[in-house]
Amino acid sequence: MQTDPLLQMRHIVKIFPGVLALNGVDFTLRRGEIHALMGENGAGKSTLIKVLTGVYPSDGGEIKVDGQVISIKSPQDAQMHGISTVYQEITLCPNLTVAENMFIGREDSVWINRKDYEKRADEILSNLGIPARSTQELGNCSLAVQQMVAIARAVDMRCKVLILDEPTSSLDDKEVNMLFDLMRDLKSKGVGIIFVTHFLEQVYEVSDRITVLRNGELVGEYTVEELPQVELVSKMIGKELGELSSMNEPQDSEAEKKEVFYEAENLSSSDALPFDFKIRKGEVNGFTGLLGSGRSESVRAIFGADKVTGGKVKINGKNVTITKPIEAMRNGIGYLAEDRKRDGIIADLSVRENIILALQVMNGILRPISRSEAESYADEYIKMLNIKTASRETPVGSLSGGNQQKVILARWLLTHPEYLILDEPTRGIDVGTKLEIQKLVLKLAEDGVSVTFISSEIEEMLRTCSRLVVMRDRHIVGELKGSDLNQTKVMQTIAGGESKDEEQI
């Protein structure tokens, strides 16, 4: 097997307005290898891939395929150079058959030669060992098979570089294994595969090499053997602790004495497996774990955001049922959702309207907040949280990410919650705002508010939380407090490894 690189990316730079998304990143892919691209949110993985596939134009650097410098301006260009991508969301048409999905848009003929398509499709499918029939409607196949059909299409288009972007996030173990077999098969045929995933075990199962990115910069390229799991996690998360590392004094003895505000037993929802959880007044706790570990799903179940399927919930010792967000809100719970654009802001409405929304809903439709009242609330919180906006009437969609987040924070603070759940409140916002939000969380706790804080950045959680619930593969695998609250211990628990058995709950 040749060892000259199949794909070389050198000093790739990508600038978004105000953000340096990629800062001179290098990436090398060899023939017949599976290369994992790792990094937490905002590390620049997806930006790098989008530059490679022509979705974003790069602002600097060069890309070589087979030693030739190429320019990629569109996804079509990328495909022409043999670079194919299979995305996490299936980009095939569910209402067409498997064979049609593999050949449509590629043939020049006016007619569809169904028999020929089906024959060729069946050949490819059986070659790759994909358990699908060419005549099947794609929507009837399992997600894994749909994923594989997408791969088969890419393979049949003679791709040299295959990018798999989070291919396993919606697959079960058996399906994942099927996919891995397929990946190994392709590898033996000389295809270079870039594998993006959040599941660490999977990286170690199939990959040959790992490239880690953090904050738009290359951390390094390693072979799997030289980078144990714990080290990988630390490379992804970064070791440097900010200037506020000692912001949180150990106070668990004090917190332990306070009464429990919220308690859930065997709570489960359509998306979350049953779990137990409780939080005391004035306590800041965190849910940690990598993306897809079930941390968001669990807090969504607490808030009643997904269909709650079972479990007992007590608030202040009294049994309550929370199946809808409004019930959670009436019980003093607030929830800042993970996806700010999709679940948080009402983009076209003004800052003022966005701030009063939750309080208004709690007041009910017949007791509107008057304009002057709303304005004074808006002004108060704009000042308190230092929201940078042209005026309180500016549509919230035109603010920067950090300020949008502050508007949503203001929305929940205005309801004076007793328990506030913050799911990734600091994602994609600047460092200054991050610190402000962290300080705010601690201040809220001082005032007796219970806070659940979720973040992909562990140091941020260590700074703010007095107790960490660690999740992996949709299960709670550990609970850390006091002296256990340090990077190493957290990473070990996240990564699993040596003490797997005793963590089963």
Partner: protein, 347 residues
């Protein structure tokens, strides 16, 4: 090579279509048993086809647009405009061929303009085709507000050409044998049906309509020219509206400003009953054909069962439409629930 031939489970398209076809046959057979009379004669079916040839053609076009995820409410008005234009043209001494070309030309013109506005300027199809409908209706009355009868020997000869099948006829009350009669328009409709059937089943373009309606982003990713595909769906629909106008004229032999009133909604109803979803990606012309027949059968049944008051036809049509729309909503919800339920269990 192949050892086993799998029977694929029904797709959404096939399931909804099968339900419609079953309901149609059940209805028709029950009518034959309980209502008898006209339903026992083959001519009943011929009449349904003769009267609705143009509706069938229009519904075919609309099905294409709806499969692509769009809507065209100008079809009825375009039909009406075509009828009026052709009648006037014939009466001014035009030729039959010329009028046929005129019909198709008008249809194409509407298809092209509407298609351009919708696909390339990103304007909502509802508004564009609403304007098209207004324009066609208004222009029809500008041409002539009074009903116009065709007085053209060549056309009358064409119009009179009917297929008579005596062994499928019946004996009328006065003892005369009335042969089964099929108008020329039905054969044109049949040709259109075959054309659209082949287009949707065997041409790349047809599958692109499905891809477009199924998931626009995916269609783009699969390398389909989304804009051109959408444009062509409106173009074909416009052309079929033109043909429908010509067939309509052959059936009535006269132009009238109120021709084909409400035809667009009947065509939408036919498509929906036939299993086409307005959300796009799901539908089949065979279903649409039976949708049209179901719609007309309901009307015939209402008349035959003695509900002579003029309102019953539309009220039962509305009820039927409600039934089918709810059925679709429930069937599809159930299906998608089953699917997500399965994937959850897998986890």
């Amino acid at each position: 090579m192949k050892t086993k031939k799998f029977r694929e489970p029904l797709t959404n398209t096939q399931l909804l279509m099968t339900i419609t076809i079953c309901i149609f046959f059940a209805m028709y057979i029950l009518s034959m048993i309980f209502l008898g009379g006209g339903f026992l004669r083959p001519q009943q079916i011929f009449d349904m086809l003769n009267d609705n040839a143009s509706l069938i053609i229009v519904s075919l076009g609309l099905t294409i647009v709806m499969i692509g995820g769009g809507i065209d409410i100008s079809v009825g008005a375009v039909t009406s405009l075509v009828v009026m234009s052709c009648v006037l043209y014939l009466n001014k001494g035009g030729s039959v061929i010329g009028s046929a070309l005129l019909a198709i030309g008008i249809g194409l013109a509407f298809g092209i303009v509407q298609g351009l506005l919708i696909s390339y300027l990103d304007i909502q199809p509802f508004i564009v085709t609403l304007a098209g409908m207004f324009f066609a209706r208004g222009f029809t009355t500008i041409l002539s507000i009074d009903p116009q009868k065709v007085a053209h020997a060549g056309f009358e000869a064409l119009r009179g050409t009917k297929l008579k099948i005596s062994w499928l006829g019946y004996t009328a009350n006065n003892g005369n044998v009335v042969p089964g009669t099929i108008e020329l328009g039905v054969f044109i409709a049949l040709l259109c049906f075959v054309f659209v059937f082949i287009l949707l089943k065997f041409l790349k373009l047809g599958r692109a309509f499905y891809a477009l309606g199924g998931n626009q982003t995916s269609a783009l990713m699969l390398g389909i020219n989304v804009k051109r595909t959408r444009f062509l769906s409106y173009l074909i629909c416009g052309m079929l509206s033109g043909i429908s106008g010509f067939v309509f004229m052959m059936h009535t032999g006269a132009g009238n400003a109120t021709n084909a009133a409400g035809m667009e909604m009947n065509a939408i109803a036919s498509s929906i009953i036939g299993g086409t979803l307005l959300t796009g990606g799901v539908g089949d012309v065979v279903g649409t054909f039976f949708g049209t027949l179901t719609l007309t059968t309901i009307k015939k049944i209402v008349v035959a069962s003695g509900l002579n008051d003029p309102w019953w036809q539309s009220i039962t049509t509305g009820g039927m439409l409600c039934f089918f729309i709810l059925l679709q909503s429930i069937v599809l919800n159930q299906r998608s629930k089953k699917k997500t339920g399965k994937s959850e269990k897998n986890k």
